[in-house]
């Protein structure tokens, strides 16, 4: 196993000899969802020439779903991820709605929204409190032995407990609606399977004051920390790109329906009211041989190749919490709008640093809590008309929804009986792929000098990736350590420097 890994590294190192002299490999990247590694290429002077974020796992969902009945797709695709099953469930059900050519009953649409809000809260809370907070609150250079959730519980018990309970609240919303926390097969083409009970509504309502207090406290705490992390804020993926997300017809924050909007780094709307189901007209997908993750780009501006990295007007765009806050005019709830105003003071019209994904995540948790509170007062929520019945009426359908990590597209083609012929999924993390690669290079350039590899630097490179909260599959590495292996490889293939961190 080890030999294989090393020989693979030699091979890729040789490939890159034409342009680079040495390579740093971080494999695997820790405290993210899924499996990935990072390669940093250095020249003779120890300066970073390039960096790559490789997604090393292969899933194959688009292929093995072929031949399945359409109605099973929400249940199957929800299994893509144990963190954001609801996102896939909803995008899949929405693609199914299109193929059945039905309008979902209003109560079902509202219940789907409610579940998506629960999903956003639980996933954002996981990303912030479980995965990333150890970096901010214990320090980027703190002892890696305790730089994890357990270290956080020891150092800041109240905040850690609040974060865990916040995630549990989001999970509870999902469970009350779908009958289970993970992989509920509840949303179906045409609507949803089960209603919300009044008892369930009361259970959610009762917890709102507690979770609202938790998130407001966390926001306060994070804002105090910002000045300590000025350097990170400047170097963690701080560059101009486009931002994409769903907005309502009025241009407000949206998470389930609506139209696509693109804004540029100056805050100008460059495309608006795009029909998300016609995504192929404005999103292209590029493929690179060194990663299983595709590289989507904004089609009118084209794909950014290696040679023209410095071009500013390329199709690189970001999605997710930061993008959603950058594309909307308002959120539409009082507390979150107040926070949004403060957030925007950081960067003018558009906040560019990916470090602020964390900040945006906290604001979105607050917005979701407020939205849940508003939704629960809607009497229509308890209607028993929840599922439109229809059969195959169109052979193609696209379902689009906002997942915690960004806009998610499910595109299906079926035969006349309803068996899947073709599946195309565009996952949020894929759309951030170009930006994540550039982020790694930016951090490495700033923090690596020469052949010395300080542990804190490695953690910063990983933290740069963590800011995007990439979801590479259903696995999480929330606690403890993953084995980490970094090699500096010279021109002749000799290992110049090597650092091991063995799994405990």
């Amino acid at each position: 196993m080890l030999n294989e890994a090393i020989s693979f590294k030699f091979k890729s190192s040789n490939e890159s000899l034409r342009t680079a002299m040495k390579k740093v490999v971080i494999d695997p990247v820790t405290r993210i969802e899924g499996h990935a590694k990072i390669s940093i290429y250095l020249d003779d002077a120890g300066q970073v020439t390039d960096a790559r974020f490789h997604v090393t796992e292969f899933r194959g969902f688009e292929k093995f779903c072929e031949g399945r009945p359409l109605w099973e797709m929400p249940g199957i695709t929800a299994r893509i991820c144990g963190i954001c099953p609801v996102s896939h469930l909803l995008a899949s059900a929405k693609a199914g709605d299109r193929i059945l050519s039905v309008t979902v009953p209003p109560a079902a649409a509202k219940l789907r929204r409610l579940m998506n809000l629960g999903q956003i809260i639980q996933s954002h809370a996981l990303s912030f409190f479980h995965l990333s907070a150890p970096d901010f609150l214990l320090g980027m250079d703190s002892d890696p032995q305790s730089r994890n959730l357990f270290g956080l519980i020891a150092a800041e018990p109240e905040l850690a407990r609040g974060g865990i309970r916040l995630r549990q609240f989001g999970q509870e919303v999902i469970e009350i609606l779908g009958g289970r926390k993970i992989h509920p097969s509840w949303a179906v083409p045409g609507g949803v399977r089960a209603p919300l009970s009044e008892e369930g509504r009361d259970r959610i309502q009762k917890r709102i004051p507690e979770v609202r207090t938790t998130i407001l406290k966390a926001l306060e705490r994070f804002k105090q920390l910002l000045q300590d992390y000025e350097k990170e804020a400047q170097t963690f993926g701080n560059f101009p790109t486009l931002f994409m997300g769903l907005v309502t017809d009025e241009g407000w924050w949206e998470y389930y329906d609506g139209c696509i909007r693109f804004v540029d780094s100056g805050g100008n709307i460059i495309a608006d009211r795009l029909d998300p189901t016609r995504y192929q007209e404005f999103i292209g997908e590029a493929v690179e041989p060194w990663s299983y993750l595709k590289f989507p780009y904004y089609r009118p501006l084209g794909y950014l190749t290696q040679s023209d990295r410095s071009r500013l007007d390329s199709g690189i765009y970001r999605v997710g919490p930061l993008a959603r806050l950058n594309v909307c005019t308002h959120i539409g709830t009082p507390l979150a709008d107040k926070e949004l105003k403060e957030f925007r003071d950081l960067g003018g019209a558009t906040v560019l640093s990916s470090f602020f994904y964390h900040y945006a995540r906290l604001i979105e948790i607050l917005a979701s809590i407020e939205r849940i509170e508003m939704l629960l007062n809607d009497p229509e929520l308890f209607s028993d008309r929840l599922r439109a019945n229809a059969d195959i009426n169109q052979l193609e359908g696209v379902g689009v929804s906002e997942a915690p990590r960004g806009t998610l597209f499910h595109h299906y083609r079926v035969d006349e009986n309803g068996l899947i012929q073709k599946v195309n999924l565009i996952i949020a993390t894929g759309q951030n792929n170009l930006a994540m690669n550039r982020t790694v290079a930016q951090i490495a350039r700033h923090f690596i000098q020469g052949s010395d590899i300080p542990e804190g630097m490695l953690n910063r490179v990983e933290a740069g990736i963590r800011a995007f909260d990439p979801c590479l599959s259903c696995s999480t590495h929330a606690a403890g350590q993953m084995p980490l292996h970094i090699q500096l490889i010279g021109v002749d293939g000799n290992i110049i420097n090597e650092v091991w961190r063995v799994q405990q």
Binding site: G67, P69, E72, P74, G75, S185, R193, D391, L419
Partner: protein
């Protein structure tokens, strides 16, 4: 009608002469696992899950088709039987493509229940991953042969209760599969009455109502028994 007495798991029980070991045990509250057996239709003894040990014979006998005999000593749950049953269930899993987590019958499946009952924590055999067909051409039902265990319950209910004989078998051995009419798409069948008895009879997620999603397939087996009882006792001819 004479009465026979026998022991099942060292318990004395009595049974009517024409009863099978399975029926006699059931009347006495003794559970024997079954899969191809379905109340209301004929027995075929195909799945071999109801095999029992009979004292004096080294050969295991299927309880669903073996008649009771005076003085018979039957054991239904010996370590040997437990091992065989678990192996049979493992073979069924390895032979088809059974993925419970995304199956329409998840939580309502007799094969799944048996895997739990026999303590199947994993499958020791190599999976075959056969290439099997899904047919959703019928406007009310669908069949996913990946989940079919060839119990032939659908064939028997269709033939014996509905009288349509739409279902039958094609092929041999592990390449066998159930067919509608002469292996035509179900939706084009001229014999199918769309009664849905086969769907109610299916022990797994192979037969399902069109449009059901994961874990949503629930069946009403009592309907089949109700129909047969009503027919045999002529309850409609008052």
């Amino acid at each position: 009608m004479s009465v026979k007495t026998l022991t099942v798991n060292d318990r004395f029980i009595s049974a009517r002469e024409e009863e099978t070991i399975l029926e006699a045990a059931k009347d006495a509250g003794i559970h024997i696992p079954t899969l191809c057996y379905l109340e209301g239709v004929s027995e075929v003894g195909a799945c071999r899950l109801c095999l029992v040990e009979i004292a004096g014979s080294n050969k295991l006998q299927p309880a669903c088709v073996t008649k009771v005999v005076e003085g018979m000593e039957v054991s239904t749950n010996t370590p040997r039987l437990q091992q065989y049953r678990r192996t049979i269930v493992e073979m069924l899993f390895a032979e088809g493509n059974h993925i419970c987590s995304v199956c329409v019958a998840n939580g309502n499946c007799e094969l799944q229940d048996l895997a739990i009952e026999t303590g199947m924590t994993h499958v020791r055999l190599e999976y075959h991953f056969p290439d099997r067909q899904v047919d959703v051409s019928h406007d009310r039902f669908g069949i996913d042969r990946n989940r079919c265990i060839l119990c032939t319950r659908c064939v028997r209910v269709c033939d014996e209760i509905e009288g349509a004989h739409t279902w039958d078998m094609a092929g041999r051995g592990t390449n066998s599969y159930v067919i509608t009419d002469l292996d035509r798409p179900w939706g084009t069948s001229s014999t199918c009455t769309s009664c849905g008895k086969c769907v109610n009879a299916c022990p797994t997620g192979a037969l399902f109502y069109r449009g059901v999603s994961v874990g949503e397939m629930k069946r009403d087996r009592a309907k089949l028994d109700f129909l047969m009882t009503a027919r045999e006792k002529k309850q409609w001819n008052v």
